[in-house]
């Protein structure tokens, strides 16, 4: 499998690293698009506000709870698992973000880059193993 991949990779002429000649103003369309994108919800909500009909009733404005009167407040305590997931996400997302620039210039880093990244991933794997053993990944 690995050998096959190696052959396939060899056959592919590698394109030069990002040499996009687009200067900084390649970002300007983002601003234009953002302005148009902001207009969309404004227009949609505006039109619907002008045209919709309103019939106010007390029951209608209550939070939906299968037709009965809501019991207690909705903002109660929830499972601590969600916090753990958020924390783990932070750690690993930062890792992935580090991997992006590394992958782009991997050509030039060669062996140094590989060893460096193995050490980096190795440290994270230790943390990952610890989290797994501690049961942070279980959802029971």
């Amino acid at each position: 499998m690995i050998q096959m991949m190696a052959i396939l990779l060899q056959a592919q002429s590698r394109p030069p690293a990002a040499q996009s000649d687009a200067p900084i103003f390649g970002y300007i369309p983002i601003i234009i698009f953002f302005l148009i994108a902001v207009l969309l919800p404004v227009v949609l909500l505006g039109v619907s506000r002008l045209l919709h009909r309103r019939v106010f009733e007390r029951e209608k404005l209550m939070p939906y709870e299968c037709g009965i009167d809501p019991i207690g407040d909705a903002r109660e305590r929830f499972s601590v698992r969600f916090y753990i997931v958020a924390m783990l996400f932070l750690v690993f997302d930062v890792e992935v973000v580090f991997l992006f620039p590394w992958a782009v210039i991997y050509d030039k880093l060669a062996l140094f880059g590989l060893v460096e990244m193995l050490i980096f991933i190795g440290i994270l794997v230790v943390g990952y193993y610890y989290a797994w053993r501690k049961g942070a990944l279980e959802w029971a």
């Binding site: 690995i2 991949m5 190696a6 396939l8 990779l9 592919q12 590698r14 394109p15 990002a18 996009s20 687009a22 103003f25 390649g26 970002y27 300007i28 369309p29 983002i30 234009i32 698009f33 953002f34 148009i36 994108a37 902001v38 969309l40 919800p41 404004v42 949609l44 909500l45 039109v47 619907s48 919709h52 309103r54 019939v55 404005l61 209550m62 939070p63 939906y64 709870e65 809501p70 909705a74 903002r75 929830f78 969600f82 997931v85 996400f89 997302d93 973000v97 991997l99 992006f100 782009v104 991997y106 060669a110 062996l111 590989l114 990244m117 193995l118 991933i121 990944l137 279980e138 959802w139």
Partner: protein, 343 residues
């Protein structure tokens, strides 16, 4: 930067905006027709020929429906949430190259709105901002179902974002660039073929990476079998339970925008983007190839939706954290090692 350039951008953005909106409207129609077809039902067929005017009727209905804001909701957050969901969903499409370049009105026009060096990072970044809309909606509604749906949804989206990002790194190692135009061009006919006929698409170099990407993308768009956030049997409608009228429509639309974005990304990163036979002679064909590939993917997504049962939440999290994340990291290490030995 000239006025010409500015005008070109604005026109392109306008056209894309219009096409995206129309596509999303018709995807809701296509989805129901496909559902009908798979489940041996008819699907919408009353409004216009073959029910083709159904999206228009739906739109009108959404506009005229009463817009209810629950008494105990946080008004501002409740109002901002749909906008916070739909704006990022729209914006990620801007860097996708949907064709090579064509000559129109005696002017060469590249079929992508813009390109810059960190396009892929931009898509991932803007895509993650979409989570805020979901969280805000779940929190501000002051409804138990909404809160649970919002929590589940955000936990799911951030979990699968990891494997999504890590699986893309494999493509980056092969392509050596974050610029989507460069990535597509590297998969083109100019790079030659393997064995004389197999195009140099990244799918052949990164099959495992693609599977991870595909599963994560399905989870990111909250579609069956990963539609836990709105699991209607348990959570009514998940984070948008309390939403009605146009605000509901905006959540609905943003999900379809996400669907279009991830299928375009799959096409661009793994299936050669707009590449295909005869594009050198007829550049317009590139647009056709791109749309065709994207729609095949969308059809597969719909097919899966109406064929698969839903995961349980613990299974979902276990798949993301214990299978896809390690697999994507492993895929990355193997790819990096192979590349090192080949060069």
């Amino acid at each position: 930067m000239t006025t010409d350039q500015l005008l070109e951008w604005t026109i392109k953005i306008g056209v894309i905006f219009f096409i995206l909106l129309t596509t999303v409207a018709y995807l809701s129609y296509v989805e129901r027709r496909v559902a009908g077809w798979i489940q041996l039902r008819v699907g919408p067929n009353r409004v216009g020929p073959f029910g083709l005017l159904q999206p228009l009727a739906d739109g009108l209905k959404f506009i005229f429906k009463e817009d209810i804001i629950p008494r105990e909701a946080s008004k501002w957050l409740y109002l901002i949430a749909p906008a916070a969901a739909i704006i990022p969903a729209l914006m990620s499409f801007i860097v996708i190259p949907f064709g090579s370049s064509v000559t129109l009105f005696g002017r060469e026009i590249t079929l992508h709105v813009t390109r810059f060096d960190v396009a892929l990072l931009y898509i991932l970044g803007v895509g993650s901002v979409g989570v805020y809309g979901v969280m805000l909606a779940g929190w501000s509604s002051n409804n138990k179902y909404s809160l649970l749906g919002g929590l589940r949804s955000s936990a799911q989206m951030i979990s699968y974002e990891l494997s999504l990002g890590a699986s893309i790194v494999g493509v980056l190692l092969v392509a050596g660039s974050l610029d989507l135009v460069t990535i597509v061009e590297a998969q083109g006919a100019t790079s030659g073929y393997w064995l004389g006929f197999i195009p140099k698409w990244n799918i052949f170099l990164q099959p495992i990476g693609f599977i991870i990407f595909f599963l994560s993308a399905m989870a990111e768009t909250n579609r069956v079998p990963f539609d836990l956030p709105e699991a209607e049997a348990e959570l009514v409608a998940g984070y948008f339970t309390e939403y009605s009228s146009m605000k509901f429509a905006m959540f609905f639309m943003s999900e379809y925008f996400h669907l279009i974005t991830v299928t375009s990304m799959a096409t661009t990163l793994y299936f050669g983007g707009w590449n295909g036979p005869f594009i050198a002679e007829y550049p317009f064909l590139s647009l056709v190839y791109f749309v065709l590939k994207v729609f095949i993917f969308i059809f597969i997504f719909m097919w899966i939706r109406f064929t698969m049962p839903r995961f349980r939440y613990d299974q979902l999290m276990a798949l993301g954290w214990k299978v896809l994340l390690p697999a994507s990291i492993l895929n990355l290490i193997v790819t990096a090692t192979v590349i090192l030995f080949v060069n």
